[in-house]
């Protein structure tokens, strides 16, 4: 073994590449997975079993109430005796108030056009596989509510339908979209205003945002509903619906402003300096360099605001605007359906499921946006 260095080296020369070894199997069998999931240790196993038992009991009860004992047919409370079953007949029979409130029956194509347009916008623009540009989505969210509002209220060849006749999901949709359309641009302006060179603008924007953040939404809504008319000139009356929408927009603009402020702060100072040195003006720097980066950062937080807005629309019923929640409560008080408590309960469960569906879809969408970046 006293060979020369050359011989030693040749021992280590390979003539073919090393075949990669197969990675160990990482997909366990179903029973193995179940065991790891439920019973990794005896103590956790006991807790798992207890929770599973509770879940089964509760689930069985729910299924019994929602499906087995449920009442599906009928057009009045006589169809739903309070015998421990849900009253889906109530939900099914009153589909129209849920969707559109008291919108005139012969004009239903107008709200349905809005629903269809929104569904198309959502599937074709927002949820496109490779993602539409953020700008187009934002444009849609600003243009759609304007178009919806004009179509719904009518005028000209279309008979006028005042907003007090709107209700249910339609109100939820219109208020939500109108809030996006106004609150997001306004929030962006407020966020930019807080970074303004002019101290007065900074102060005003800062005060507005902080004040709105410190007051509960419900209080803002009550102020809009009851106090605002007192401050306005006598001959200028704004409908309750519009007042509520304005209050919503202002409140959420303050929320959006904080989100946008975070996004603007996330843009590196070097970016602004680089934009300055290639000769961009302050406005061009904002438009071409700062905003595109800041808006990309805040997408998940903006979607979160949307989810909150959708859920907050239920507060409208408290001040007497008939959104989905209001429509359900009004329905349960109508002569046909008054009486049995399970009727109102079924309505609430339906409401919760409807919101769950919409908000879950939105949060999945925002998660996808985050992952795709």
């Amino acid at each position: 073994m006293v060979g020369s260095g050359l011989e030693l080296t040749t021992l280590f020369v390979r003539e073919s590449p090393v075949a990669p070894r197969v990675a160990p199997a990482t997909v366990p069998t179903f029973t193995e997975r179940l065991r790891r999931w439920l019973l990794p240790t005896p103590a956790i196993g006991v807790v798992s079993m207890l929770l599973l038992a509770v879940l089964l009991l509760f689930g069985a009860h729910c299924l019994d109430w929602a499906l087995v004992q449920a009442h599906w047919r009928g057009s009045s409370s006589t169809a739903c005796p309070d015998d421990g079953g849900a009253c889906w007949a109530f939900v099914i029979a009153r589909w129209k108030p849920w969707l559109v409130g008291n919108y005139p029956s012969d004009q239903l194509w107008r709200p349905f056009t809005c629903f269809a347009a929104f569904a198309l916008f959502w599937t074709w623009v927002v949820r496109r596989p490779n993602g539409a540009s953020l700008l187009r989505v934002l444009q849609g969210f600003i243009l759609l509510p304007v178009a919806f509002f004009l179509l719904l209220i009518g005028g000209g060849p279309l008979p006028v339908v005042v907003p007090t006749q709107w209700g249910g999901l339609l109100v939820t949709l219109v208020v939500t979209l109108a809030t996006f359309a106004t609150a997001l641009p306004l929030g962006l302006c407020l966020a930019l205003g807080r970074r303004s060179r002019w101290p007065v603008v900074r102060l005003l924007c800062g005060t507005f945002v902080e004040a709105m953040r410190a007051v509960p939404l419900l209080a803002v809504l009550f102020i809009a509903a009851t106090l605002l008319p007192l401050f306005l000139p006598r001959d200028l009356t704004i409908g309750l619906f519009a007042r509520a929408a304005i209050a919503f927009a202002l409140f959420n603009a303050a929320m959006a402003a904080e989100v946008f402020r975070g996004g603007l702060q996330a843009v590196d100072r070097g970016q602004i300096e680089a934009a300055t040195t290639v000769g961009l003006s302050d406005f061009a720097t904002l438009r071409r360099v700062v905003l595109p980066q800041a808006l990309t950062v805040v997408v998940p937080a903006v979607v979160n605001i949307m989810i909150v807005v959708i859920k907050e629309t239920t507060l409208l019923s408290v001040i007497g605007v008939s959104d989905l929640l209001g429509a359900i409560e009004i329905g349960a008080k109508s002569p046909d359906w008054v009486g049995e408590p399970n009727i109102l309960t079924s309505g609430y469960v339906f409401l919760a499921l409807a919101y769950l569906g919409v908000c879950y879809a939105l949060s999945r969408y925002s998660r996808r946006l985050e992952l795709s970046r």
Binding site: G279, S281, V289
Partner: protein, 259 residues
């Protein structure tokens, strides 16, 4: 490689005149009575220990940093300390370009868009002309194939070359370099230095803050040594490196050139 970006050099035409510039960060005196005159076509290298005010000096020239006392004249635009306007800053930045230590490319744009955004939205050059210019300079820095890549898909050296091309794309009369190789991996320093040397050979007016003493010796017309916010010594490279006058510069060179 030819960068052919340069106006004819004539050191009698002054590009930068700094007279008695003083700058403070709060109570910290960052620039003390700085006087500097740079003529067209001159290559100036600024060096000195960290915290000596080198970066502040070049960032004052394009008004990224305001100054509190003194007078500045850049490409014929006069700026007094008490009247630093946004208009003056914009006017100077349309004539002076800058290359940063951290590249500062726009991450949401392709390399090509990084080059065209300034000409199109800053100087009002038409899109087709901006695109033609951008492709020209990308070719000059050897990155034609990378025009549609985003900065994140480029190596550090490639990013800095894109940044140099971006600086040239606005047809500047002066390019400022703020430690352009300090954030690069060692094997990428050379490609950036070579690009800068080509630019220098073609007569571009340049002020370069760098620790690359070899580059200073090969390229600079004058080397400026700063310490504690003051310009201590200014000399052509041979005198600067071989016969330093001040004790502080001798100490500094001893530390920098020792290894």
């Amino acid at each position: 490689m030819a960068l052919d970006a340069s106006p004819p050099s004539d050191t009698n035409v002054s590009i930068v005149e700094m007279s008695a510039i003083n700058k403070w960060y709060g109570s910290y005196h960052a620039l003390r009575d700085v006087d500097l005159h740079v003529g067209a076509g001159e290559r100036i290298v600024v060096c000195g220990p960290s915290g000596s005010g080198k970066s502040t000096l070049v960032r004052t020239i394009n008004l990224l940093e305001p100054f509190e006392q003194g007078h500045l004249r850049v490409c014929g635009i006069d700026v007094r300390a008490d009247e630093i306007t946004r208009a003056a800053r914009l006017a100077i930045n349309r004539r002076v370009a800058m290359v940063f230590q951290q590249f500062n490319l726009f991450p949401h744009m392709t390399a090509l868009q990084n080059l065209t955004v300034g000409p199109i939205f800053g100087s009002g050059v038409s899109r087709s002309e901006a695109r033609r210019r951008a492709l020209h300079y990308l070719e000059r820095v050897g990155l034609t194939d990378y025009a549609d890549r985003h900065p994140a898909q480029l190596s550090g050296g490639q990013q800095q070359r894109v940044a140099i091309a971006r600086a040239l794309c606005t047809h500047p009369r002066l390019v400022l370099f703020d430690e352009p190789t300090a954030a690069l991996d060692p094997e990428m320093v050379n490609e950036v230095l070579q690009t800068m040397e080509t630019l220098a050979r073609e007569g571009m007016t340049m002020i370069v803050v760098t620790h690359e003493m070899g580059f200073a010796r090969r390229v600079a017309d004058r080397v400026v040594f700063m310490d504690q916010g003051q310009i201590i010594e200014t000399a052509p490279p041979d005198r600067f490196f071989d016969a330093p006058q001040s004790a502080r510069l001798r100490t500094f060179l001893g530390q920098v050139l020792a290894h």
